[in-house]
Each structure stands twice: as structure tokens, then as C-alpha cells.
């Protein structure tokens, strides 16, 4: 669970690959600060970073949640991270390569759109004069001016389409950009010919307006994908990169984990992650293995225990002997498994591409038949080519190009305001096809953090426990302290408070020794089989008293699952936990089909079986152990409290303590799907009217301009109505993640 680690994770050395060095020696670095939401956070982050000695300049970007830091030669990037951690911000280095790639594409499209917008307005102005009666030399002059504006614009702004069309044609395929490129180039060439020969009609306005509308669609589409790339950067900082090697003289030195050899002795301080798999040689502590198992209750380890890379050391320092090199750990295995299943994703064909597969050949044959028809009927080459180009212009998929991105941007905006982050538009399309939902248990259906369910009567026991629990970072202690807080219990005054790693906390109260911890440590009965986690309190020589904890269902889990079933979805529960615990949660949540004892690979197999049955599965999971399954599912969601790797693998990330976003996303996706179909219907309907007009040769530039703009505006307006119909379900804002209580 990443949330439990942010508070205590130590400052790692930053890999030099993340730091760019300019010629004059100044170094700069991008950090991802994803819990930056408001003006206050922004100011705090910037001021904290600027106050670090050696920082020349720090500027935060609230949209991308990034902090750009420029360092003097004396500055250290680790100091910036440490300062930010001290004020409770989670900052991670961000790969500058990813950042600049995204920016270049977005700004190229934006520039193209700006140029096309300028040109279409000015050419339209000239065209309107021609339509209102300018003729003779005035018309020729206006056409020449239009040509001078339009031709450079087509060359400049058309590049994204020409490039993509050329790539498709080169490999013998066709896509939406092929008819666009042919239409725009054909219209421009014919118009130029008409201008040179003083002809009556020129389509310069049509070709640049087309480019403008299409580029609007592309810019919207690009916005959607931008978010996805930012999310991918999370993966880079997941695994521990540095190990602390114990030298023969007892001192420790940081080495990259790739140079750890089998048999090396390594030191793991509290708050650090175990760097590689190994065996504990000295020390005792509790390990949080949530990253590997998704299990929130820590495991006590002592000398001789086998421990795995990625586990978080909570309470005491450990020394360990490495038993596997970094690339052969369990963690590395899971990451490889995930990379392997991630590939088949390419099979999914996006709606827009599916439409264009039908559309492009239809348009081309219509234009070709028009050309042949006019030639056969003996109207001459000029008239035939004019009619064919008119068909190409009028059928250019302007409305079609806007049909999908316009709807997706509206839907994504709605979801974002409800705390649901879509990582790409394809996720929304896939979500609308889902017929089965598979949930993980711990951290997904449940909150993933233990809550007190049963404790002793109020009184001294509570006051003493509150004092003892306050002295430990152990998740059960925190849960106990939280429960005491909720009941307004004041901590009793205790002295000599000390944490015994792997056992518990002890102190003195009113002269009596008091202990809070494991059953054996306080001589409590150990044969209880409630399946719940427990902590015992002993005051002096009194009978020990138990506090029982369980991982609670998210408050709206049952209601959400009932509503999902009402939508006709098949709900399953798949978990790595033991059968009893899984069945108990399944019964509480109202899920009839559950599968327990699944290893990460087992979850993938379960999903593959479902996929073979022809089901489209939505996987909802949060742990590292779910990551391969998240990547293998048709589409996946992960709570923002989940492991970083799960969020990187999932197509959709949701915030808050409720499960409602799952339902809300599916409903939104289905509505968006209907709206997209509606938009396609509008675009096709427009063509059914416009194509015969063009084929018969009545499509003058005026008609082409009016009909093209009208259909595009109609499609955008239709997409905007989605916002209205979603407002009803969008009003239920989930609560902000209560980070403080978790970490």
C-alpha cells in the first residue's frame, strides 16, 4: 500500500538519468508531486523547494502536477525531495524524456490548429465576397489571395494528416487520414487550377476549414492521451534502486541494487524497502508486505526469516543476507509477468478506426464512380473531376473526426470532477463493452486498512492503550489510536515508552509495567481463531485484554455491487487470501461467485478463462499482486490508494474511500457510447443528404462550406448535451482520500 509508505520512506538517491545538465553547469530536474490540488499546495511546494539551499529556481505546474527545479552547482536534488517529504508531500523524479515527447506533439497540433484557424477565417472572408457577387478581375484577385493563404496553410497544417496517411498507405492499410489527405490535396489542386484558368469555383475555404475542424478534434484527442503518459511515469520510481551494503568494518555504503551479489550482507533501516530477496541475519522488525501480497497486516520477522524485495520495513533495523540478485526477486518476476500480458492490448480497435475502415473505401468508391459517371455521360474531363473532388470535400470526415473525441472529452471532464482519472479514451470505449466485473478483496472491496471492531470496555484500558499506540507506527497501533481519538479518549500519562520491534510497545503507568502487542508477548491465549487481527493489552499482572481488528468493506460496497448487478453485469471476487476470509467478505458484499488462494499468475489465468468464454472483463484491483491481472483484463480500474504499479497498470484510477466511482464510470461510459453512436448517425445522415447533391454536381463551394460547418457544429453540440445528462450522476462527489488517517 503506497499510502502507508509515503510518510516513512527514506530519501533515495536520485538516478542521474533523471537530471538534465545544461552547458553552463546548471542542472534541472522534474518532480511529480501528485497531491498538489489547490493554490495553497502550489505555494507551499514552490516555497519549500525554493528555500532549499542550492535551488536556483523552482516552479510548479498545477495542471501536470509537476515541479521543475533548477539547481546551482552546489545544490543536491535529494535535499529538495527531503524538504518536500518533511512538509508531507510525496515527490518523485519524473523522466524528462516522457515529459518533452508529450509536449512536442501537443504543441505541434496546437500550432497547426492556430494557423488553420487564421487561414480559414481570412479565406472565408474573401470567399463570402465572391459568393455575394464579386466577379471578373475582383474574383480572380480574391482567388489568388486565397491561394496565397491556403496553399502554405495546407502544407503546414496538413502535415499531421499527410504523415499518418502516408504511414498507413506505405504498409498497405487505410485509415481516416487517407480520405482526409486526398480530399484536402484534391480540393487545393483543383482550386489552384480553377484560379489559374479564371474559373468560377474554388474550394480554398473548404480545404482550410476542413483542416481546422479536424485539428480541433485532434487537439481534443491529444489532451486525453496526455494524462495516460503522465501516469506511466509512476512505474519508474517503484522498485528500490539502492541497497545499503554492510562493509567488513561495520559501516554501510549505498550501492545500486544491480550490483548486489548473492551472499552480500545488507542493512535495511525502518522505513526502507527490502532491496532484494534474502534471509534475516540479525535484528527483528515488522514488515509491511502490502506491495507484494496486498495484505495490510504486517508480518513479524526475526533472525532466519526469509524476506522478499519490495516489503517495507516498519519498526526495527534488520541485517540480511542476499539470496537472489535484483533481477531474480519475486518483485522482478511480477513486473515481468505484467509486461508480458500487457502486449495483447493492441488487438483492441478503437471506434473511430473501426468507422474509418468502412468509411474510407465507401468515400473513395463514391468519388471514383462520380468521375466515371460524368465521363460516361459525356460532360468532359473538367466537369467530371470537379464533381468527383466535390464529393471528396463534402464527404471529408469532419463530423466523423469530431464524433468520438468531442464526446470523450466531455465524459472525461465529468469523471475527473468526480475524482475519476481516465488514462486514455480507449479505456472509456472498452468500459462501455464490459459485461463482467472482477474485484480484488483487500484494498479494493475493503479499505485495506485495519479498523477496530471489538475492544474492552472504556476506562483505564483504553487510556493506557491510546498512550501506548501513540508510540508506534505499526498499522494496528495507528488504527487503535484512531479509534481512541474517535471516542475522545485522552491518553494516560505513561513513562519509559519503548517500541520492541516484532513484539509491541511497553511503558510504565502508575508504577505498573504495561504492554501492548502480540499475544505471546503478553502471555495471552493464542488459540483464538476469529480470523481477525488482534492486539493485546496487559496492565501489570492483570488478565490481558484483546483488541480485534478487521479490514472493513468500503461503506458503499454492497449498494454499488447491487446496482452493478442491476445493470446486468456479472460480479466476481478473486483474491489471494484464504477461503474463509474471502467468503466472509463476498457474503457481506453480496457477491455469489468468489475464487480464493490465487497467486498473481492465478488471477491472470482466471481472467483468461473468462476472456475465452467471450466475456469483456473489468478488473478492479489495487495491489502489486493484482497488477498483471489489471494489465490482462479488457479494461481495469485501481483506487488511488493502491500500489503505484497497480495504478500504472490500470486504465482508470479513482480517488476516495467509496466504490461508487466504479458504477459511475460504467454508467458514464455507456452514456458516452450511446452519444458517440448518435454522433456517427448524425455524420452518416449528413452524408446521405450531401453525397447525392455532390454527385449531381450541385455542391458549389458555398454549399460545401455551409454543410460542413453545420454538421461539425451539430456533432459538437450533441456531445455537449452529454454533459447535461451526466450532471445528474456527477453531483455525488466522493470524499477526498483521507491520506492522513492511512499513512
Amino acid at each position: 500500500m503506497s499510502a502507508t509508505t509515503t510518510l516513512s520512506s527514506p530519501i533515495r538517491l536520485i538516478d542521474p538519468a533523471f537530471i538534465r545538465t545544461a552547458k553552463d553547469g546548471t542542472r534541472s530536474l522534474d518532480l511529480l508531486v501528485d497531491d498538489m490540488h489547490c493554490a495553497g499546495c502550489l505555494a507551499k511546494v514552490e516555497r519549500t523547494a525554493s528555500a532549499v539551499p542550492g535551488v536556483a529556481h523552482a516552479r510548479a505546474n498545477l495542471t501536470t502536477k509537476r515541479l521543475a527545479v533548477d539547481l546551482d552547482p552546489s545544490g543536491s536534488p535529494e535535499a529538495v525531495l527531503e524538504a518536500l517529504h518533511k512538509v508531507g508531500r510525496s515527490a518523485r523524479p519524473f523522466d524528462p524524456g516522457v515529459a518533452s515527447d508529450t509536449k512536442n506533439e501537443a504543441s505541434e497540433l496546437m500550432r497547426c490548429m492556430a494557423v488553420a484557424g487564421f487561414a480559414s477565417m481570412n479565406v472565408m472572408l474573401l470567399s463570402v465576397s465572391v459568393w455575394s457577387g464579386a466577379d471578373g478581375t475582383t474574383r480572380d484577385l480574391f482567388y489568388w489571395l486565397s491561394a496565397m493563404i491556403a496553399i502554405p496553410t495546407v502544407i503546414y497544417s496538413g502535415r499531421p494528416f499527410f504523415r499518418s496517411a502516408w504511414n498507413a498507405l506505405r504498409y498497405g492499410r487505410t485509415n481516416m487520414d487517407v480520405p482526409i489527405a486526398i480530399g484536402v490535396l484534391g480540393a487545393t489542386a483543383l482550386s489552384l487550377y480553377e484560379t489559374i484558368t479564371s474559373g468560377e469555383h474554388a474550394w480554398f475555404d473548404g480545404s482550410v476549414a476542413l483542416l481546422f475542424f479536424l485539428l480541433v478534434g485532434r487537439v481534443l484527442d491529444n489532451r486525453m492521451r496526455d494524462v495516460a503518459r503522465g501516469a506511466a511515469a509512476r512505474l519508474l520510481t517503484l522498485a528500490p534502486t539502492v541497497a545499503s551494503l554492510v562493509l567488513p568494518d561495520g559501516r554501510a555504503r549505498d550501492i545500486p541494487i544491480s550490483s548486489v551479489r548473492i551472499g552480500d550482507t545488507l542493512r535495511v533501516l525502518p522505513g526502507e524497502r527490502v532491496p532484494v530477496d534474502g534471509i534475516v541475519t540479525s535484528g527483528a522488525s515488522d514488515l509491511d508486505r502490502a506491495l507484494l501480497t496486498g495484505e495490510s497486516v504486517p508480518e513479524a520477522v526475526g533472525e532466519g526469516a526469509a524476506i522478499h524485495a519490495g516489503a517495507n520495513n516498519l519498526t526495527g533495523p534488520l541485517e540480511m543476507r542476499a539470496t537472489a540478485p535484483a533481477n531474480e526477486t519475486v518483485l522482478a518476476g511480477i513486473i515481468r509477468l505484467m509486461e508480458k500480458v500487457e502486449r495483447p492490448d493492441g488487438r483492441f480497435v478503437r471506434l473511430a478506426d473501426r468507422a474509418s475502415r468502412l468509411y474510407a473505401p465507401a468515400v473513395h468508391s463514391a468519388a471514383f464512380l462520380t468521375l466515371i459517371g460524368w465521363l460516361v455521360l459525356g460532360f468532359g474531363v473538367h466537369a467530371a473531376v470537379t464533381a468527383a473532388v466535390a464529393v471528396l470535400i463534402i464527404t471529408c470526415p469532419c463530423a466523423l473526426g469530431l464524433a468520438v473525441p468531442a464526446v470523450q472529452v466531455v465524459a472525461a471532464g465529468r469523471l475527473l470532477s468526480a475524482g475519476i482519472i481516465l488514462k486514455d479514451g480507449a479505456a472509456l470505449e472498452k468500459l462501455s463493452e464490459v459485461d463482467t466485473v472482477v474485484f480484488d478483496k483487500t484494498g479494493t472491496l475493503t479499505l485495506g486498512t485495519p479498523r477496530l471492531v471489538q475492544g474492552p470496555e472504556a476506562g483505564d484500558a483504553w487510556a493506557v492503550s491510546a498512550a501506548l499506540a501513540g508510540g508506534s507506527r505499526h498499522p494496528l497501533s495507528r488504527a487503535l489510536a484512531e479509534a481512541a481519538d474517535a471516542q475522545n479518549i485522552r491518553a494516560a500519562p505513561v513513562t519509559d515508552l519503548a517500541e520492541r520491534p516484532g513484539f509491541g510497545v511497553e511503558a510504565r503507568w502508575n508504577g505498573l509495567p504495561v504492554r501492548l502487542g502480540r499475544a505471546q508477548w503478553v502471555d495471552a491465549p493464542t488459540d483464538r481463531r476469529s480470523g481477525l487481527s488482534e492486539v493485546w493489552l496487559r496492565i501489570g499482572d492483570d488478565e490481558p485484554q484483546a483488541f480485534l481488528f478487521s479490514d472493513e468493506l468500503r461503506s458503499d460496497a454492497k449498494a454499488t455491487i447491487a446496482e452493478l448487478e442491476a445493470l446486468g453485469l456479472d460480479i466476481r471476487l478473486v483474491s489471494g487470501d484464504a477461503q474463509g476470509a474471502v467468503e466472509r467478505i463476498a457474503a457481506q458484499a453480496g457477491i455469489s461467485q468468489s475464487l480464493s488462494n490465487c497467486l498473481p499468475g492465478g488471477k491472470v489465468e482466471a481472467l483468461e478463462v473468462l476472456a475465452k468464454e467471450g466475456r469483456k472483463v473489468l478488473m478492479v484491483g489495487d495491489g502489486l499482486n493484482d497488477a498483471p491481472a489489471l494489465a490482462a483484463a479488457h479494461v481495469s480500474m485501481s483506487p488511488a490508494s493502491g500500489a503505484d504499479i497497480a495504478q500504472a497498470a490500470a486504465g482508470i484510477v479513482f480517488t476516495g474511500e467509496q466504490l461508487g466511482p466504479v458504477l459511475q464510470s460504467i454508467v458514464t461510459a455507456r452514456k458516452a457510447r450511446r452519444k458517440i453512436s448518435g454522433n456517427f448517425a448524425l455524420a452518416v445522415g449528413y452524408n446521405i443528404i450531401a453525397v447525392p447533391i455532390a454527385v449531381l454536381g450541385f455542391a458549389t463551394p458555398l454549399i460545401a462550406a455551409v454543410s460542413m460547418s453545420a454538421s461539425s457544429i451539430l456533432v459538437i453540440a450533441n456531445a455537449l448535451t452529454l454533459g447535461l445528462s451526466l450532471r445528474r450522476i456527477g453531483t455525488r462527489h466522493p470524499t477526498k482520500p483521507v491520506a492522513g488517517s492511512v499513512s
Binding site: A39, R47, N61, T63, V87, T138
Partner: protein, 61 residues
């Protein structure tokens, strides 16, 4: 007709000027952080330059 010969270049000139201003602002990063621009107006200005770094630290934390 002669009026057009003067007006069209003027109109185009203004259009190109507006386009250049937009491209400049795009390149200059004016659209990189739209949310941040809205939030920054709410941030109080830094207090007058303080030469004592310790004091500065305290104020921010």
C-alpha cells in the same frame, strides 16, 4: 476597388499579427498550466526579501 487594395493587406496584416501573438504565447508556455494560472492569483506575494535563511525557513514551514 482601390479601397480594397488597401484594406485587404491591412486586414491580413492584423490577422497575421494576431496569429503571431498566439504562436508566441504558445511557445512562451502561456498555456502550459491553465489551472495554475487560476490558482496563483490567490497566493500572497512573498514578503520583502529576507536575508536570514533560517527565518525564511520558519516562515514557510
Amino acid at each position: 476597388m482601390s479601397a480594397l487594395l488597401g484594406l485587404i493587406p491591412i486586414a491580413l496584416g492584423f490577422g497575421i499579427l494576431a496569429l503571431l501573438v498566439f504562436l508566441w504565447s504558445l511557445k512562451n508556455g502561456q498555456y502550459d498550466d491553465l489551472d495554475g494560472a487560476a490558482a496563483r492569483i490567490l497566493i500572497d506575494d512573498e514578503q520583502p526579501a529576507d536575508t536570514n535563511p533560517d527565518k525564511k525557513e520558519q516562515r514557510h514551514v
